[in-house]
């Protein structure tokens, strides 16, 4: 096992598995977030947030999710540094765009943009809801169940500051480009690809990228624009 994890393919294997796990998380997250779009009173989203915060399965998965993020980031950084070291002297002229896509060549940079976004995002919401609390985070009562007004915190953020909306849209777009390459590549690294599946997985990866990037970008824009009209 130690040998496997030390090998380049073993490390990539972990990156792929953690990456696919993170994609599944994105779908859950996007589904929960989309409740913002369907109920402007905020009750639907608050109930969803309350459910997510109290559901035992979600509680168990949360630390696994954190491990998934850490593994994915740690191993990609290690692999990228090793890959940089593999070519000490570069080319004077190289036509990279001819043979590969922009996303596939810039996964580490897209990943770092997403990481920067993630830190801002956690500081904005997760940290406040979970640990520190916030003046914007009042209590609401639905049918006798008291819960935090997460909807108010989230929408106030987007309505008050344009730059927060911009940061969220940039984060979503970077994630979208990251996923256009990531989805098929994860299956390729796990060995589940051939000439036929490659086309299918790439097409599916594109659809997933558009859903994830579009979905996460629309929510802050929607909240902001809805507040102005």
């Amino acid at each position: 096992m130690a040998y496997f994890l030390n090998s380049s393919i073993g490390k990539k294997f972990l990156v792929s598995l953690s990456g696919l796990f993170l994609i599944s998380f994105l779908f859950v997250h996007l589904t929960a977030n989309s409740m913002i779009l369907f109920d402007s009173s905020g009750e639907l989203f608050n109930r969803t947030a309350h459910f997510m915060a109290t559901n035992p399965i979600i509680r168990v998965v949360e630390p696994i999710l954190a491990i998934g993020f850490i593994l994915h980031i740690l191993y990609t950084v290690i692999l990228t540094i090793q890959n940089w070291m593999a070519r000490p002297i570069g080319y004077h002229k190289q036509q990279r765009a001819f043979s590969s896509t922009w996303s596939s060549r810039n996964m580490i940079w897209l990943g770092l943009v997403i990481l920067a976004f993630l830190i801002i995002h956690i500081a904005n919401f997760f940290w406040k809801v979970k640990f520190t609390g916030d003046p914007l985070l009042g209590k609401v009562d639905y049918d006798g169940v008291e819960m935090e007004n997460t909807y108010h915190l989230v929408t106030t953020f987007f309505i008050q500051w344009w730059w927060i909306v911009a940061v969220y849209v940039i984060g979503a777009v970077a994630l979208g480009f990251h996923l256009t390459h990531a989805f098929w590549a994860a299956f390729q690294t796990l060995g589940w690809s051939d000439n036929c599946w490659r086309k299918r997985l790439n097409a599916l990866g594109l659809v997933i990228s558009i859903i994830i990037a579009g979905g996460f970008a629309i929510i802050p824009l929607w909240v902001k624009i809805a507040s102005m009209i």
Binding site: S8, Y91, A185
Partner: protein, 247 residues
């Protein structure tokens, strides 16, 4: 054709090296790229300058000896061609052509455009073979092999080990080379016997020699003069994974 050539010159392994610019005139568009370099060297010899060292052997696209990173691409412009099969008609009169050696830590420059690709030999020595007792060859049809498998094995076996995959990969990864060797042997009954040991040994040697890892950009298959596809890398990943799952 009249051309300006920007060529990497490096006296030996330890020298720093730099680009030199040469003018060359009256090159036939029908000459091959290596013939053009031969003419350059004739000119340099006449001028009392040390000729440019470059690798070549069969000059018919099957030996894998020629290399060269031409105008930013491994084996230059052209699809599924080696440098020796690249012809000057792919260029225009008055062009400036930048010629560099393969760049990878595992492929050190020996002189000018010649790199040491011994690392590939070491990977093959680690497991790119089958152990069979010598003797009379078996009848060709004694071991039935599915058409799909023989086709795939043949496609993989087309690898000539030129190193264009490593040269063009942003990570200097040798995965396409290793994949083609593992794939062509693992698909056939003779190679299956040692499949577990082979996948582990070749990947370990590849890592040890300082090649990067694959990030699936697909640049290798675009530049491979033999059209070897990423499907073989997927098979290598499968082989390596299953080899590590077996006791």
């Amino acid at each position: 054709m009249d051309l300006t050539l920007k060529v990497w010159r490096q006296a030996d392994r330890k020298s720093k090296g730099n680009f030199e610019t040469y003018q060359i005139k009256d090159i036939s568009p029908d000459s091959s790229f290596l013939e053009m370099l031969d003419e350059l060297n004739e000119q340099l010899i006449r001028e009392g300058i040390e000729p440019v060292a470059f690798d070549h052997d069969c000059r018919e696209g099957i030996c894998g000896m020629c290399s060269l990173f031409i105008n930013g691409r491994a084996h230059g412009p052209g699809h599924e061609t080696t440098t020796c099969q690249l012809h000057m008609r792919k260029f225009k009169d008055g062009d400036t052509i930048v010629i560099e050696p393969w760049r990878a830590g595992a492929f050190p420059v020996i002189k000018d455009l010649v790199v040491d690709r011994g690392a590939f030999d070491k990977i093959l020595q680690a497991g790119g073979f089958i152990s069979v007792n010598t003797g009379n060859a078996q009848d060709a049809n004694a071991i039935p092999i599915k058409k799909f498998q023989s086709d795939e094995a043949m496609d993989a076996a087309a690898c000539i080990g030129c190193g264009a995959c490593v040269a063009t990969c942003k990570n200097s990864s040798a995965m396409l080379f290793v994949a083609s060797k593992v794939s062509h042997l693992a698909l056939l009954p003779q190679g299956k016997v040692e499949a577990v040991r082979r996948a582990k040994a070749m990947v370990a040697k590849m890592d040890e020699l300082g090649f990067g890892s694959c990030t699936n950009t697909g640049a290798c298959e675009v530049e491979c003069p033999k059209g070897i596809t990423l499907t073989h890398i997927a098979r290598l990943n499968r082989e390596f994974l299953s080899a590590n799952l077996k006791p």
